[in-house]
């Protein structure tokens, strides 16, 4: 019973990471119609920036520096390379972002080496909290709460601001976005930077829990894409539902039969694609993209 609770909490934390990456993927897709295979790289860059800052300056600054650095990188990437791929077919976008992911991963490997690294949280956050029958590391709970707050802010951004209007319109009606014209360039840059910053921040914050190596970005990206597909490409709540579902599924399978924990998410995705191709909460018109 205790193990079950542990696994469910673990699934929640893992699921929230997926949600955060998937939300970025989804708003970027919704606004820019860009399928971004390099999104995992944002996570990894954030994690390494966080690691360096945390070790040399302080953990607090890591949480500030990581999202900013990643957002800057993303804007640069967008201007230099990705812009010209917005109108291309999804396959071309997949290929170029896959290539960027490769380059980032290898650059990180050259700089930081291939070994797994981690930084430690300050003493105050290293304790455990007792929740009924189980004790759980305090930082993990804090992390989960932080991600939830961040997601709420993103949601408010989408629902309440003018830029968010463009995100919503982009998901539902491409034409309307084109009518909005000039605004869109600026908005798409902001959305791209925001999606990247979320991934970077989560990368930095999750490193004390999961540690980081150069391949981690890609390792988180693929399940996050599964999450997006399961939840429905372009849907915020789909990403939330899909992320939690996949996180829990993986964590619980790990408890029941560990070797299957990697494959179960693919099985889940295949079933969803066959039975409800637009995803659990997706809108059907997006599927042909």
């Amino acid at each position: 019973m205790e193990a079950l609770f542990q696994a469910m909490l673990g699934g929640l934390v893992l699921g929230l990471i997926y949600v955060a990456i998937a939300v970025g993927l989804t708003i970027i897709f919704g606004t820019l119609r860009l399928v971004n295979f390099a999104h995992g790289a944002f996570y990894a860059i954030g994690a390494y920036v966080g690691l360096v800052i945390a070790q040399h300056i302080g953990v607090g600054w890591a949480f500030v520096a990581a999202p900013i650095a990643v957002a800057l990188f993303a804007v640069l990437l967008d201007r230099l390379v990705l812009r010209s791929f917005y109108d291309k077919e999804p396959t071309a976008q997949l290929l170029v972002t896959f290539g960027i992911a490769l380059v980032v991963e290898e650059t990180l490997r050259l700089i930081f080496g291939a070994t797994t690294q981690q930084y430690r949280m300050p003493e105050a956050l290293q304790g455990s909290v007792t929740l009924g029958p189980i004790t759980y590391p305090a930082y993990r709970l804090l992390f989960a709460a932080g991600v939830i707050v961040m997601l709420a802010l993103v949601w408010l951004f989408i629902e309440r601001t003018n830029y968010g209007l463009i995100v919503r319109a982009g998901i539902r009606d491409r034409i309307m976005v084109q009518l909005l014209g000039g605004n869109i360039r600026q908005a798409s840059t902001i959305v791209f930077a925001l999606g990247a910053a979320i991934a970077g921040l989560v990368g930095a914050a999750a490193t004390p829990i999961y540690s980081i190596d150069p391949a981690t970005g890609f390792a988180f990206l693929v399940p996050s894409f599964v999450v997006v597909v399961v939840g429905g490409l372009g849907s915020f709540w789909g990403a939330v539902l899909g992320g939690l579902l996949i996180g829990e599924l993986q964590s619980l399978t790990n408890l029941a039969y560990a070797p299957a924990s990697n494959v179960v998410i693919y099985l889940c995705m295949a079933l969803v694609l066959l039975l409800r191709p637009q995803g659990l909460l997706g809108e059907s018109e997006v599927i042909r993209q």
Binding site: A92, E106, V229, N262, V263, L273
Partner: protein
């Protein structure tokens, strides 16, 4: 289908065709023969040359799918690793005493093809990211199964130290590990470094290159290219796109499995890594770097990257970064790959476009097309009829309870304000979308569940509101594709016949062009046509499928007055030979050419009658006024 494809004399081979094939084969053979000696001074070793030759086969298979069918698979490792494991298991379980290479490799290839057909059956309906992820998912499942079936596969350790399989050839059992005679070649190494394996792998590669060339130049390859360029159009001229994509996937999977099996046999081991995501990714890299959609690109890319991996990796830790930078650089700056630097032309040259005998046939139109008095339950049989037809988009009813009937030979206009559901209604008739309720009968037969592709072959063709063409092909080629679908049916694995070498196809296409007065621009790229010519070409494409009923969605929209009148006259002429349904906002045309008019409003039929009746119908006038102000709102 028509039997004409069997009776049609296949045009005699162009003189020199065989010679060209032979020249190609000789050139490839020469290249393969010198390759290991060119590799030597660069620091490559003979094993690498053999591995490159073997893995190139998988890349060629991958390119057939990505380049010619347009599907990016991120799971090809399942075929590559799967082929390797199958071959190794056959080797270990079936004939451990007398290991037979043919048995292992051919068995594994067949196994990979079966796997591809099973996986393809569920994946080919998906596109882009969905296709990539679902193939990846299947590859992960295969990885998992292999990892778990430890008794057969040895789990994470893979199958190591496989016995050496011999190659039975007639009375001989050839041991491929035998070295060639030792001859010193100076800077190019020593012939004796090579084993017979290289010759065997080289022959396999040569055959696969020839196969790939044949496939891409065949009628099959042509249709595959058409589907990639415009799938919507292709299904609505009568090609079964899913079947074509599945066939391409199966061929691609089989070649990749073949390659994996050879690699396992050559290395004497099959690691579980051969099933990994990274493996799948490597085929993407090889193919893109070398040049997608080119014949030699995949081979060149495989050679370059495998060389980097094996030679550069010993010298610098940055080799993977270099590899990644090359990959991105190629995508951004050389979308067609490295091999196009050498050869400034892509493999897909405009072949099959040479014009031959333009016997414009003067056949009588199909008697079925004539309005006939053929009795059917008392009245003349309708050609197309709907009962309570409805279509819901979510909760919104775009078409509701439509009862509609057209007699053979009629010219019926369908009018209504913007958003009335006219296009949706046509889509229901043509089978592009399935109805939510009600039925569509064609010549008395319920076709509600018949696919759009099948309906084309029954004689229903459509021209789109926004012309749906093959922009990169000539006008003639556009029409030929449609004619080809009519002549050969919805699917044909025509891999031997050169594309478009059928007189019937030519005749149909030429006739369709001349009917729409497009013969003058026959050799223009469709994408370069004027708006009016595009709209007319769309109709010509529909016409080339030899329809009995032609659906035209706003054929003169956006045309100048003169052009509109010209097109109107063409349509009027067509309507003497077949049933025509036309959606149009141009009232002058509607009133001028139609036998009768149906008015749709908010998804339902508001009125049906002669032009005069409709003009005077007060409800129609009201709906139109309402509709116009609505239209002004949406367009203003």
């Amino acid at each position: 289908m028509t039997t004409s494809s069997e009776t049609a004399p296949v045009a005699p081979a162009r003189p020199g065709l065989l010679a060209a094939d032979a020249r190609f084969a000789v050139l490839c053979a020469l290249g393969i023969a010198v390759f290991p000696f060119l590799l030597h001074p660069l620091g490559g070793y003979s094993t690498l040359a053999t591995q490159i030759a073997i893995v190139s086969i998988a890349s060629i298979g991958f390119n057939l799918l990505l380049g010619y069918a347009g599907s990016l698979s991120y799971g090809h490792a399942m075929f590559y690793g799967g082929g390797g494991y199958l071959a190794a298991i056959l080797l270990l379980r079936v004939s451990p005493q007398h290991p037979n290479l043919w048995l292992c490799v051919i068995g594994a290839t067949v196994g990979a093809a079966i796997l591809a057909i099973v996986v393809g059956a569920v994946t080919v309906r998906l596109y882009g990211i969905y296709f990539a992820l679902l193939t990846l998912a299947f590859a992960q499942m295969v990885y998992f199964i292999v990892e778990q079936a430890k008794d057969w596969t040895n789990g994470d350790d893979g199958l190591q130290a496989l016995p050496n399989a011999l190659l039975p050839m007639g009375p001989w059992n050839i041991d491929l590990t035998t070295h060639l005679p030792s001859i010193d070649l100076g800077p190019f190494g020593n012939l004796g470094e090579l084993r017979l394996w290289y010759i065997f792998a080289g022959i396999c590669l040569l055959l696969v290159l020839m196969l790939s060339r044949m496939l891409t130049r065949s009628q099959f390859g042509e249709v595959l290219g058409a589907i990639r360029e415009n799938e919507q159009r292709s299904t609505l001229i009568g090609f079964n796109a899913s079947a074509y994509r599945l066939a391409a996937f199966a061929i691609s999977g089989a070649l990749t499995g073949f390659s994996g099996a050879l690699r396992g046999m050559f290395d004497g081991s099959v690691p579980v890594d051969s099933l990994s995501i990274d493996r799948s990714g490597s085929f993407v890299i090889y193919t893109i770097v070398g040049g997608v959609q080119t014949l030699f690109g995949p081979v060149a890319g495989t050679a370059v990257i495998m060389f980097l991996e094996n030679v550069l990796s010993a010298r610098t830790p940055a080799w993977r970064l270099i590899e990644g930078l090359i990959f991105v650089g190629v995508i951004v700056f050389l979308p067609r790959g490295l091999s196009t630097v050498l050869k400034q032309q892509r493999d897909k040259s405009p072949r099959g476009l040479f014009v031959r005998s333009l016997r414009l046939s003067t056949e009588e139109p199909d008697p079925l097309l004539k309005p006939s008095g053929e009795g059917h339950k008392g009245g003349p049989m309708s050609i197309i009829e709907t009962f309570k037809l409805g279509k819901l988009f979510g909760r919104f009813a775009a078409v509701r309870d439509v009862d509609f009937r057209v007699d053979p030979g009629e010219l019926r206009a369908v009018i209504g304000p913007n958003g009335a559901g006219k296009t949706t209604f046509f889509n229901l008739l043509s089978g592009t979308i399935a109805p939510s309720s009600g039925t569509v009968n064609y010549k008395g037969r319920d076709v509600s569940r018949t696919s759009g592709t099948a309906r084309v072959h029954l004689g229903i063709a459509k021209a789109f509101q926004t012309a749906s063409l093959y922009p990169d092909q000539t006008v003639r080629q556009n029409c030929r594709l449609a004619a080809l679908a009519r002549v050969q049916g919805s699917f044909a694995l025509q891999v031997f016949r050169r594309s478009m070498r059928l007189d019937d196809v030519d005749n149909l296409a030429e006739r369709a062009m001349s009917r729409l007065e497009l013969t003058g621009v026959a050799d223009t790229r469709a994408g370069d046509l004027s708006h009016g010519d595009k709209k007319r070409l769309d109709i010509a494409i529909a016409l080339a499928t030899q329809p009995q009923i032609l659906l035209l969605d706003e054929p003169v929209a956006g045309m100048s007055k003169d052009e509109a009148r010209k097109t109107e006259a063409l349509i009027r002429k067509l309507s003497t030979e077949m049933t025509v349904l036309v959606i149009e906002h141009d009232m002058e045309m509607v009133m001028g050419i139609s036998d009768s008019i149906t008015v749709l409003h908010q998804g339902t039929v508001l009125a049906t009658g002669t032009p005069a009746e409709i003009r005077d119908n007060p409800r129609v006038i009201e709906a139109y006024l309402g509709g116009h102000s609505e239209a002004e709102l949406t367009h203003g």
